[in-house]
Structures are given as structure tokens and as C-alpha cells.
């Protein structure tokens, strides 16, 4: 048994549902300005559709933990208004596809009010949302839409890959003075991981080098980080050293960490569950080319989902998401 495994064995593992709940609980305890809004989030409605907010309305009251109508524009609008005058709302938009219903509020208002007001107002709002293929929810319940938001100036986009990261990044989002979109992966909600250290916030805008290596840099975020870790482990058996970077924050992008790593490895693969075309991978590949074109030993590879809506049938759904075999092939391609 490795040392890490022994350490994990000693402490009780925690899943992402528990970790986010713990972060919300801690933030609400620290600051009376933190309020929660969202569909079914109060305990009378079972503390959220998967129970992320369970217990919080009982502890902090229904004034601060509010189940809302199914009305995404009204939810985000109310959160924006409250944020402008000093509250720190955490609005849950149950599924990422439902953010489309609130796009005007998120893109035209939350992201822009600081700039349009010349800095007189700002929107310390966190929008929590979950997504990801794997539950057979089909084309309107599982998309990764982070590129749309990362393309909008004025909003931060955060996507944790583990329970401990979810906890530390959630706390940072809540106490950040800018709007943050916080993306939780639904199919891995129940996967146990190392518990966070209480109070340990993870800075926004900083990527995490999960594994050091000299041969190729693999860049990912959210669920696919686990796939990349598995591929890196497999390739290590052959002596290929993968440097694995978890972005943690998609926007603002930690360009410095990426450039430092790729300047060393001179090879890069970007992996995400969102469809590949026009995605975050394209932005990262372009940025790496702009800075390191003459250094690169191979074109930057991008792995993303099939360019289609998320299909329902299990066979199709499994084939839709990026496969570990595809990640492995992309890494090998950069090695020539």
C-alpha cells in the first residue's frame, strides 16, 4: 500500500456532495451575507435534487436558504440584485443546460455590471450548476457549456475535479468579489475522495500540477481529469512521464502555469468533456502556439466529446464522451 493510500485510509473519505455542502455550511456560518437560492434547495423540498444543500435551511432558516419557483431568470436576477447591495448569494441552477434560460441575466448583467457602472457596483455571486453525460439524461440535461461563459468577459468559470477541490474552490468563489460559475459533475458526485482540510480555500485562477513529468503535458478539468490520471498512470509503466495539470479555474486561465509546463515538455494534449470544436481546448492550443510555436515538438492535440447533442442510448452516450483510449492515442501522437 502506498503512503498516500495509507493517509487516505486514516481519514474518512468524502464525496463531492458532502464537500460542497460543507463549504456552503462553513460560508453561511462565517458570513450572514451568504444566502442560497435555487429550485428545491430547502429541506422541505429535500435539500436539493441530489441533496447538496441538505440540512442548511434547517440550520440557517428559510430566509437564507430559499427554494425558488422554477424560474431561472428570476433566480439569477434576484441573486444579482442582492449581490449588488452586499449579499453573497449562491444561486443553484440545477442543470447547466438550464443556464440557457438565464443567459441574459448571467451574460448581460452579472458579468457586465461592474464594467458598465465604471466599478460603482459589482456582483459577488456564485452560480452552482451540475452537468455531465453518464446518466442517460439525453440532449438537454448533460452538456458542458463552459466555453460560452469563458468567452464572456467579467465572469469566472470554475470546474473542480475532486471533493477536496470542490470544497476549497467553492469557498473561494463565495468570498470572491466577482461572479463565478461553478460547474459540478453529476455522475461523479458520489465518488469518494480525500476530505478537505477545514477552512482550506483554493485560490481562483491557479492551475494545479497534479503529476509532474518531463515528456508531455496533459491539461484538463472537471471529470476528465480522472481519465487523464488513469492514462498517465498507464503510460508511466512504459516510462512515459506525463505532466498532468488540472485547470481548476477555466477563466481566468492560468497561462503562466501552462506555458511553464509546456516549455519544459514541448508537447501538450488538452482534454475536456465538452464538444471539441470551438472549445476551451481550442483556446489553450492557440495560446500555446502563440507563445511556444518554435518550441513545440508536435501540434497540440485536443480531445473533446463528439460534435453532437448528448445521446440517450447507453451505447451512444458512452461513445460520445472522450475515451481513455483516445486520450492515450493523443498523447502517443505527440510523442511521434
Amino acid at each position: 500500500m502506498s503512503t498516500t493510500a495509507k493517509m487516505i485510509e486514516k481519514v474518512k473519505p468524502m464525496n463531492t456532495i458532502q464537500a460542497v455542502n460543507m463549504a456552503l455550511d462553513e460560508a453561511m456560518g462565517l458570513d450572514a451575507n451568504v444566502i442560497l437560492l435555487g429550485e428545491d434547495i430547502a429541506d422541505g423540498q429535500e435539500g436539493g435534487i441530489v441533496g447538496v444543500t441538505k440540512g442548511l435551511s434547517t440550520k440557517y432558516g428559510n430566509a437564507r436558504v430559499r427554494s425558488t419557483p422554477i424560474a431561472e431568470q428570476a433566480i439569477v436576477g434576484a441573486a444579482i440584485g442582492a449581490a449588488i447591495v452586499g449579499l453573497r448569494p449562491v444561486a443553484e441552477i440545477m442543470l447547466m443546460n438550464f443556464t440557457t434560460v438565464a443567459m441574459d441575466m448571467i451574460v448581460n448583467h452579472a458579468a457586465k455590471l461592474r464594467y458598465m457602472s465604471g466599478g460603482q457596483t459589482h456582483v459577488p455571486l456564485t452560480i452552482r450548476t451540475m452537468t455531465g453525460a453518464g446518466f442517460g439524461t439525453g440532449g438537454q440535461h448533460a452538456d458542458y457549456l463552459e466555453a460560452w461563459f469563458a468567452h464572456t468577459a467579467g465572469i469566472k468559470v470554475v470546474a473542480p475535479s475532486s471533493p477536496a477541490d470542490a470544497y476549497g474552490l467553492m469557498l473561494s468563489c463565495i468570498f470572491d468579489d466577482d461572479p463565478c460559475l461553478f460547474i459540478e459533475n453529476m455522475p461523479t458526485y458520489w465518488n469518494p475522495g480525500a476530505p478537505p482540510q477545514t477552512g482550506q480555500r483554493i485560490p481562483l485562477g491557479k492551475a494545479n500540477v497534479l503529476r509532474e513529468g518531463r515528456d508531455v503535458t496533459v491539461i484538463s478539468y472537471s471529470r476528465t481529469v480522472q481519465d487523464c490520471a488513469a492514462v498517465a498512470e498507464k503510460l508511466a509503466q512504459e516510462g512515459v512521464q506525463v505532466e498532468l495539470i488540472d485547470l481548476r479555474t477555466i477563466s481566468p486561465l492560468d497561462e503562466a502555469t501552462l506555458l511553464k509546463s509546456v516549455a519544459k515538455t514541448r508537447r501538450a494534449v488538452v482534454v475536456h468533456e465538452a464538444v471539441r470544436r470551438f472549445g476551451v481546448g481550442a483556446e489553450i492550443a492557440a495560446m500555446l502556439n502563440e507563445h511556444l510555436f518554435s518550441e513545440l515538438k508536435a501540434p497540440v492535440q485536443r480531445i473533446g466529446a463528439n460534435h453532437s447533442p448528448v445521446p440517450f442510448s447507453k451505447t451512444l452516450e458512452q461513445a460520445f464522451v472522450p475515451q481513455q483510449s483516445a486520450i492515450e492515442a493523443a498523447v502517443r501522437k505527440t510523442l511521434g
Partner: protein, 326 residues
């Protein structure tokens, strides 16, 4: 005017001062824009002066408003200083928003002007949030969402009214029904006989009032503000009015029936209220002095705006996020 209403003379004159400030500012905006000294999209509120003037005398600087692209009247009535307003419209560094918002996004928290949106319907959900903060903190503040008749057909209106009613939020939804959504007549776009009928769907009081009668608007707004402050929830007020200069300044008004605008302009609410005040015993010299003071304020504001510096190019990067971008 509503003859039976008894209102303190000081309040009546305050309403008139706000109406005259809007009317005279608008006259000057159009003249200056026409002269080419300021280049800006301009949505004239001329003809709608009585509504925010009579609503705002019921509010303090602690109360919030969210208004829309046709909102200069709402801002002036709420007290945004003329100099800062003019400088913002001129795109100058000295404007309310350092020249980065422009006429459609003027913001001035010291007077409670928290958001001005260029998106039809979006003032209402955000006003709910301002009201929600006041409710959670146990403050007595109220929020006013201004919007037009066209905005009552968009989903945000219905989501916002429903939520405000369910949560009994201290908010006034003030619809300035000027008969047109952009170029389309009310009847062609709106199924409701009148906007206030829509309040019934949300179990909140809904009232239609002559928006060109400041006393009628004052009475309705006073009651709605009192209800909101008492924790009794929101009110939908439909104030019927008319805009004298089309959708956007330069509009040819070809979509209007011949004579419709002229008939409305003949009943201009500003001189009508002025005459009513004088008939009721207010000395004309008092109003004339007030108007001269307004003209001086506008003269100073125009000079200030035109002479102010343009924004530094570094402003391009500032205020995107709390930390300046590299």
C-alpha cells in the same frame, strides 16, 4: 388633475421641479445631440415626466430603482446629479460610470440608481434582488422596477412578478405604458386589455392610472410604497402615457396614426401641471425662479460634460474583474 387629492404644496412643487428638470434636460439633450457635440443613442422620455417625478417624491436615496434604456427621466427624478449624467452621456471620464456605461447603463448608487439595462424586461428580476436584500436584512427600503408596456410580454416580467408575490418582496413594478413597444402598437403585441390586469395572475394589486396626471400617480405610488414598506408585498402600477419623440431620437414615427402624436403633445403634462399649480394659488414667479435654477443647472452640466476629458485608455481593462487584467 384629480381634484379631490390633497397634497402638501411642498410636495406638489417638488413634483413639478422634477418634471421641469426632465423636460428641460430632454430639450437640451436633443438639441446638443442634433448639434453633433455629443454622439449617443438617445431614447427621449419627453411626455413621460409625471411618472417618475410623482413616484420619486415617495422615495429616499436609500430606496432603489432599476430602470431601462429610456430612463433619463427616472434617473433625474431620483436625483442623479445633472453634471454626472451629462458627462456619462458624453462618454467622458467624469461621468457616473467613467464613460463606460453610456446613456443605457447609467448607475449612481448614492441616489439608489442601481441598474440601468438595455435589455427589455430585465429591470424586474434584478429589482426583486434589491428588495430581497432589504427584506432579509430587515430594512425598510423599497425597490422600483421601471419598464415599458412591451416588457410585460417578455418572460422575465412574469417570472419576476410571480417570485415577488410569492416572497412578498418590497417592490413596485411601474409600467410606463406609452402605447408602443419600439414601433409596434400596444394592441398588436399585447393580449391583455390593460397591463394592470396581469397583476391578478400573481395575486398582487394592479392599478392603471393616468400617467400624465402627477397627482394620480403620486397617490397610487404612495400607497404602493407604504404597502411595500409594511411588508405587504409588491404592486403593479400601469401608468398610461405617450412618448413625444418616438422610439429612438431621429425616429420618423411613420408607424403612428396621423395626428396621434400631435394630439398627445397638445396635452403635454408639464405645462398642464404648471397651469394647474398656478390656478391653485402657486405664484408663477416661484415656478419661474425654479425653472431658471434648473436652466442654470443644465447649462453648468452641459459645459462640464463638454469640457471634461475623455476616459484614459487604461479604462478599457479596468473593472472587468476586481483585479485588473494583465
Amino acid at each position: 388633475m384629480t381634484p379631490e387629492t390633497r397634497v402638501d404644496k411642498a410636495i406638489l412643487i417638488d413634483i413639478y421641479r422634477r418634471m421641469a428638470l426632465i423636460q428641460r434636460s430632454d430639450d437640451r439633450f436633443r438639441a446638443v445631440i442634433k448639434s453633433g457635440k455629443i454622439v449617443a443613442p438617445y431614447y427621449s422620455p419627453r411626455g413621460q415626466e409625471a411618472i417618475p417625478a410623482a413616484v420619486s417624491v415617495n422615495l429616499t436615496d436609500d430606496d432603489y430603482i432599476c430602470t431601462i434604456y429610456r430612463g433619463i427621466h427616472d434617473m433625474l427624478a431620483k436625483g442623479v446629479p445633472s453634471k454626472l449624467l451629462w458627462a456619462e452621456i458624453a462618454g467622458k471620464a467624469t461621468g457616473t460610470c467613467k464613460g463606460k456605461g453610456g446613456p443605457m447603463h447609467i448607475t449612481h448608487p448614492p441616489t439608489g440608481v442601481m441598474v440601468t439595462t438595455g435589455i427589455v424586461g430585465s429591470s424586474m428580476p434584478i429589482a426583486n434582488g434589491l428588495a430581497l436584500a432589504a427584506q432579509i436584512r430587515g430594512e425598510k427600503r423599497v425597490a422600483v422596477a421601471y419598464f415599458g408596456d412591451g416588457a410585460s410580454n417578455i418572460g422575465a416580467f412574469h417570472e419576476a412578478l410571480n417570485m415577488a408575490a410569492v416572497w412578498k418582496l418590497p417592490v413596485l413594478f411601474v409600467c410606463q405604458n406609452n402605447g408602443y413597444g419600439e414601433h409596434t402598437r400596444y394592441e398588436l403585441a399585447t393580449a391583455a386589455r390593460q397591463i394592470s390586469d396581469r397583476a391578478a395572475g400573481y395575486q398582487m394589486p394592479g392599478v392603471t392610472v393616468d400617467g400624465n396626471d402627477p397627482l394620480a400617480v403620486y397617490a397610487v405610488a404612495r400607497e404602493a410604497v407604504a404597502r411595500a414598506r409594511a411588508g405587504e408585498g409588491p404592486t403593479l402600477i400601469e401608468a398610461k402615457t405617450f412618448r413625444f419623440h418616438g422610439h429612438v431620437f431621429g425616429d420618423a414615427d411613420a408607424y403612428m396614426a396621423p395626428g396621434e402624436k400631435e394630439a398627445a403633445m397638445a396635452k403635454d403634462p408639464v405645462p398642464r401641471f404648471r397651469s394647474w399649480l398656478i390656478e391653485g394659488g402657486v405664484a408663477e414667479v416661484e415656478l419661474a425662479a425654479l425653472e431658471r435654477a434648473i436652466d442654470r443647472e443644465i447649462d453648468d452640466a452641459v459645459t462640464f460634460a463638454l469640457q471634461s476629458p475623455v476616459p484614459d485608455l487604461a479604462e478599457l481593462q479596468r473593472d472587468v474583474l476586481a483585479e485588473e487584467l494583465a
